[in-house]
């Protein structure tokens, strides 16, 4: 699983790195020369990083265009063109996994950003105890996902789980609820575990963004007669946009690589309702030894993530690195 999650998250995270470097055109030749020297210094490190990031991606693309057979001493490949992608196109499991991953990402990121914003605003307003509150909030984020997923699977258990116990004792339900056994409830259960874990992360990024907004802007807004509501929408929100973008991007990229939560909580069930793209790729590759179609799933995931990232950056119309530097 470890390798699997690394695979999923790793493939998904990469485009973030690609999206960040923004360079401004240097007007002076001296600046240009300095930049060149800087790049030269960067080159060895960049080469090493590329060999462990770009290399595997390109290899995955190559495998996805091949018919792959395991020989016990590596892969035997023959050129297959788009045959693996044709398999995906015809496989209902693929479309289901894509729909689940996209829908899940949309829903959880929306909730996490909304909740995270509220938490960040509250924390920003705190005069004392901010450090302690943040430490407590960050606990879920710092727990390893597999560990927290195991805890959630115990809480969610439909026979002896704590959540059902509380619901029955409080007479909310008469019968235990089979949280992980009903398609809709299983989606909610997995989503809930995600929101619990990553809302603090979003809050942290947004809090950093809030603290970079200059106090005097609010004073000016108050002098101009703006109430709290108006000053939020006119001052806070526009200036927070770069941080929001960073938070949303990070979450979308991570969420598209979703693997460990459903792997532990539902193993993709009931049926295949909570099977994410990463889980599908993992199963194709390591259960069925279908490395061609499996890598095709990974490549499609990366392509989808890159597309979403580009759309977001364009749509929100912010350039990363303007005010979001501190948060990133």
């Amino acid at each position: 699983m470890d390798g699997g999650s690394r695979l999923g998250a790793g493939l998904a995270r990469r485009p973030a790195a690609l999206a960040f470097p923004h360079t401004r055109r240097a007007p002076a030749t001296l600046r240009g020369r300095r930049a060149r020297v800087g790049y030269a210094f960067l080159a060895p490190a960049a080469a090493v990083v590329a060999s462990v990031t770009l290399g595997p991606i390109l290899y995955a693309v190559f495998l996805s265009l091949s018919q792959v057979r395991l020989t016990g001493e590596g892969f035997a490949t023959t050129w297959a063109g788009l045959a693996n992608y044709a398999i995906l196109y015809r496989a209902p499991e693929f479309w289901q996994a894509l729909a689940f991953t996209a829908g899940y990402t949309g829903a959880t990121v929306l909730v996490e950003v909304a909740l995270g914003l509220v938490v960040a605003l509250v924390l920003n307003g705190l005069v004392r105890g901010r450090g302690l509150a943040m430490a407590v909030l960050l606990l879920p984020w710092s727990l390893i996902t597999v560990v927290s997923a195991e805890v959630w699977s115990y809480l969610d258990n439909g026979a002896y789980g704590l959540i059902d116990y509380v619901l029955v004792v409080l007479h909310v339900t008469s019968q235990p609820v089979n949280w992980l056994g009903e398609p809709t409830l299983a989606l909610v259960a997995v989503g809930l575990a995600d929101v619990w874990k990553t809302t603090p992360f979003v809050a942290l990024i947004l809090l950093a963004g809030l603290q970079m907004i200059r106090r005097d802007l609010y004073e000016a807004a108050t002098l101009d007669g703006a109430g709290p509501w108006k000053s939020f929408w006119r001052v806070t929100f526009p200036l927070l946009r770069p941080s929001l973008l960073v938070a949303v991007l990070f979450r979308v990229l991570q969420s598209f690589g979703l693997f460990d939560l459903p792997f532990v909580l539902t193993s993709g069930g009931p049926g295949t309702t909570t099977q994410s793209l990463a889980l599908l790729a993992y199963r194709a590759m390591f259960n069925d030894l279908e490395f061609g179609p499996g890598t095709a799933v990974s490549v499609v995931t990366v392509a989808a993530v890159v597309l979403v990232a580009v759309l977001f950056i364009r749509g929100l119309g912010v350039r990363l690195g303007e005010a979001g530097d501190g948060a990133a």
Binding site: M1, D2, G3, G4, V37, A40, F41, A43, P44, V48, R69, L70, T71, G72, E73, G74, F75, I87, L88, R90, A91, E93, F94, N157, G158, A159, Y160, P176, N178, L180, G181, E182, P183, T266, S267, G268, G269, P270, G271, T272, L280, Y282, R283, A284, F286, N287, D288, L289, E290, P293
Partner: protein
């Protein structure tokens, strides 16, 4: 200035390249001592009392020239398999020998991940094993795994509760349902019968037991036989256990630990589980001394005992091993009388060695062993390299039928279609 900078950069780059190269060189094969051979054995944890190390110590005492290093693998069987595939397919010479699931031979043989043991051992070697086990490790006429310990599905029951309400140990599924409903009506337990119904390999094992008893089959050769009235009967019955309240709805999310947990906490009257559930229930205060074990029931009284799905683990050899002779000695010992007796007495695993299975001192320790000679065994159709896909076609669709998302008939039809696709090498 310019040249100095360039020189520095070139120097740095060169230094980096040298550093990378030397790291790569240092990671090459380790040196072996001339006096003794060290082999690496990859195995996931077997019991919770250190059986693997115990076996290694006993083996090293018997064969002082061979040292064994344990490479502990993940408990999760999928993760375990993934690591072995990655390691061996990359050409690594270690692990020299590894413990792998009984459903792996065809897949691993086809992918070149396991050595053909027919060429390593003489044909007389295979006579030591209990009947049926070697056939299960055979792919296209060659044996790829040496049976190490076996497992099967058993019915565990609360003998104290059955005695108190004068109920018989069930021999039919109908009787089990009656027993469970009586105990539930008296509030003697919260749940009647718990088993493994989550969408994973364990559900395929459970299904095989009902299916075979109902007269059904998944495959014959490369032909899917799953779309049959017997399959519908098996799946309908499993679903009816939930609908009638005999089993909690949560069994559709249960793997072995959850089912074991519910039973060990004293919440369930009946449990379908593997051999380990015996020793596990002996260490649970809530049910210690109150548990009995029997073969699984059948649909009709004349069909008793019902079918038990074969589980368990084989020893496989890495095709790239550089210590074949030592590995051969290791497997000889592990599957021989000495190793198998340790296995059965130290951790009460079910030995694969027929002679050890019959030893009175072994039988006395583990009542499951007395039962195993009475059950009828059925193997999953793992003789096809596409078995992993076949199984996931079964468990994903049957799981949906158990939760009521699909009718048993529709689930069987969908599974059969996916199986046919998997066998013909199409689909994802």
């Amino acid at each position: 200035m310019q040249t100095t900078v360039r020189g520095t950069i070139l120097g740095l780059a060169a230094a980096t390249m040298v550093a990378i190269w030397s790291i790569g060189a240092a990671a090459g094969p380790a040196q072996h001592r001339a006096a003794s051979v060290t082999i690496v054995w990859a195995a996931s944890p077997i019991s919770n009392n250190g059986l693997r190390q115990h076996l290694i110590t006993a083996f090293e005492r018997a064969h002082p020239g061979i040292r064994v290093r344990l490479q502990s693998q993940p408990t999760n069987t999928d993760t375990n398999r993934q690591e072995l595939i990655t390691e061996i397919n990359s050409g690594s010479a270690t692990p020299d020998v590894y413990m792998g699931d009984v459903i792996w031979p065809a897949q691993f043989a086809q992918a070149g991940l396991a050595m053909d043991l027919s060429k390593v051992f003489p044909s007389t070697f295979w006579r030591r094993f209990a009947p049926g086990l070697v056939a299960g490790a055979t792919y296209q006429g060659q044996v790829y795994g040496a049976p190490f310990f076996m497992d099967a599905g058993f019915l565990y029951y609360r003998k104290d509760l059955l005695a108190r309400y004068h109920l018989p140990v069930p021999r039919t599924w109908t009787q089990l349902a009656v027993d469970a409903k009586t105990l539930l009506a008296h509030h003697a337990v919260r749940y009647g019968f718990v088993w493994e119904g989550a969408a994973y390999e364990g559900l395929t094992c459970n299904l095989m037991e009902y299916l075979t008893d109902a007269g059904g089959k998944v495959l014959s050769g490369t032909k899917s036989l799953f779309d049959s009235p017997a399959s519908v009967r098996a799946v309908s019955f499993m679903r009816s256990l939930i609908v009638s309240g005999v089993s909690p709805a949560a069994v559709t999310t249960f793997q072995e630990p959850q089912a074991m947990n519910a039973f060990a906490q004293g919440q369930a009257a009946f449990l379908r589980n593997w051999d380990y559930a015996w020793s596990n229930s002996q260490s649970s205060p809530a049910v210690k001394g109150k548990v009995g074990v029997a073969p699984l029931p059948a649909f009709s009284a004349s069909g008793y005992p019902g079918y038990s799905n074969i589980g368990g683990w084989n020893l496989y050899i890495n095709p790239h091993t550089e210590h074949l002779a030592a590995v051969r000695t290791f497997i000889e010992w592990m599957t021989g009388v000495a190793g198998q007796t340790q296995l059965a007495t130290y951790a009460s695993e079910i030995p694969t060695n027929a002679q050890v299975q019959r030893l009175p001192e072994v039988r006395k320790l583990n009542p499951v062993l007395g039962v195993v000679s009475r059950v009828r065994l059925v193997a999953r159709p793992a003789y096809t390299p596409a078995y992993a896909k076949v199984s996931s076609a079964l468990y994903t669709n049957v799981n949906l039928a158990l939760t009521g998302q699909l009718s048993p008939r529709a689930a069987v039809a969908k599974a059969a279609q996916a199986i046919a696709q998997a066998i013909s090498g199409q689909g994802l």
